[in-house]
């Protein structure tokens, strides 16, 4: 962005909002919005407490397990749906239903099924992330150009070789896009899961902070989550950019 001929860095707008927040906070209008500086200060203290560190480890673990399951199940399922009409017919309706369903409403049911613990959170992460991964992998496999498949066959590729050398690589950009969106949904899943279960990880901390009106800690934790989600997304995006570079001809 350019203003009066000066190049403004991308993150500059965040700075403007932070200053605005600081002013509103200093004016002491509502207790919900403490000054930005004291939020950051609290955040620095927060990350040094053992309760935050324990909560983070639990959260990361739930997220990691849930995401691994979502990718491990979602990508193969999507590929199968893209390749085989029968699988697509059996699973298509369910996947499309779940991808747009308000999954938060299901979490209480999950609590009954899996108990008030980490398992419920893992399942929540899985359910939030898996469907979009399935749909994108399916789309990627279905979009492999016919001529590329014919090319493979005419030069002697068949079955597994055709799949690994042509179909999988051709579908890679879509598969990665699905995983990136899945990761972001997974972050939502882990937070919503923990908040609803409310006795583990960040859910417990959020519950504690908001009940005792510790708004600085509440906002600090929120900021940390935002930053982590954005970094995750940016990380996968750099991967995608490299892949898209090779896929540029399509």
């Amino acid at each position: 962005m350019n203003i009066f001929g000066y190049r403004i860095p991308m993150m500059a707008s965040l700075l403007v909002w932070a200053v605005l927040w600081e002013i509103v906070g200093r004016l002491d209008l509502i207790f919900l919005i403490p000054p930005m500086t004291s939020i950051i200060e609290t955040g620095v203290h927060l990350v040094q407490t053992s309760s935050w560190q324990k909560a983070s480890i639990i959260t990361l673990r739930s997220f990691g397990i849930g995401m691994s399951l979502a990718i491990g199940v979602g990508v193969p399922l999507g590929i199968l749906m893209g390749r085989f009409k029968a699988v697509d017919n059996i699973m298509g309706l369910w996947v499309n239903m779940f991808v747009s369903a308000p999954l938060s409403a299901l979490v209480p049911v999950l609590m009954i099924l899996f108990g008030l613990g980490e398992t419920t959170v893992v399942v929540t992460v899985f359910l939030f992330a898996v469907w979009i991964i399935v749909l994108d992998a399916r789309a990627g496999v279905m979009q492999v150009p016919t001529s590329l498949l014919e090319m493979g066959r005419s030069y002697g590729a068949n079955g597994w070789v055709l799949f690994t050398k042509i179909i999988l690589l051709s579908a890679l950009p879509e598969i990665l896009a699905g995983i990136r969106i899945g990761l972001i949904r997974g972050v939502k899943g882990v937070v919503i899961g923990q908040i609803l279960v409310s006795i583990i990880g960040y859910g417990e901390l959020f519950e504690l902070f908001s009940r005792s009106f510790e708004m600085e800690s509440f906002w600090a934790l929120t900021l940390i989550l935002f930053v982590v989600a954005m970094l995750l997304s940016a990380f996968v995006e750099t991967f995608e950019k490299r892949i898209e570079y090779y896929a540029g001809a399509r």
Binding site: P145, S147, L148, E150, M151, G152, R153, S154, Y155, G156, A157, V161, K165, I166, L169, S170, L172, I243, Y245, Y246, A247, G248, A249, R250
Partner: protein, 268 residues
Amino acid sequence: MQLSAIPAVQPSAPVTSNDPVVQVRSICKTYGDIEALRNIDLEFSRGKLTTLLGPSGCGKTTLLKIIAGLVPANSGEIRVNGRAVTGPGPERAFVFQDFALMPWATVMRNVAFGLELRGVNAAERKRVATRYIEEVGLAGFEEKYPHELSGGMRQRVGIARAFAVNADVLLLDEPFSAVDEQNRRKFQEDLLRLVDLEKKTFIFVTHSIEEAVYVSDRIVLLSPRPGRISQVIDPKIDRSASPDDIRRDPGYLDTVEEIWDGLRHYVD
């Protein structure tokens, strides 16, 4: 010295027009209710460039893909080197209208892909691919990716890939239709040079009459819906002349006119 060593000196297959490398026998093809090809009988001579020419919808690409083994025929038979074939095989190589290059692979890997699938070792692949990349005029572009090349250069990669597998028959499906006009002329001239250099059998599909007459030893005219053979023309053109002289040759112009007369009533 034994006498049996002598035949090895002679060419394994005599290069005469009576030696069909590809035989098409009463091929029929329907797509649902649409009859695409009806009873096609054709023979393609070794070492010649034969063009399948016709208006769109005449089934010329379908016929080429049936010969390639990519599309199954409803009835009839394709014989290559005297053997009936039902699928793709190493004695045929295909050049695609939309190039069909792997966007994630370099020019080198794309050209060597046929060899890679045949299990040829990396050093040999590189040697062969380098030779054909040079032959089609892409030396220096070995490590580029397809999206870094122009349309014309991409099709050169497709042609080099087809040459690299050393097939007897090259099947070209409107290879220059996605290439701009200036490049197309250059391509046609290069194709004639490669035909001369490689001594292979070419089956070429196009909808351009001028292109067909310019490059072909024989032109097979197909009529549309259902596709049938309407005419076979052998242009009598002196190919040793320069490209510009060929395009001004009365024989060339007469043949273009003759084909146009044959096709005119399909367009109306």
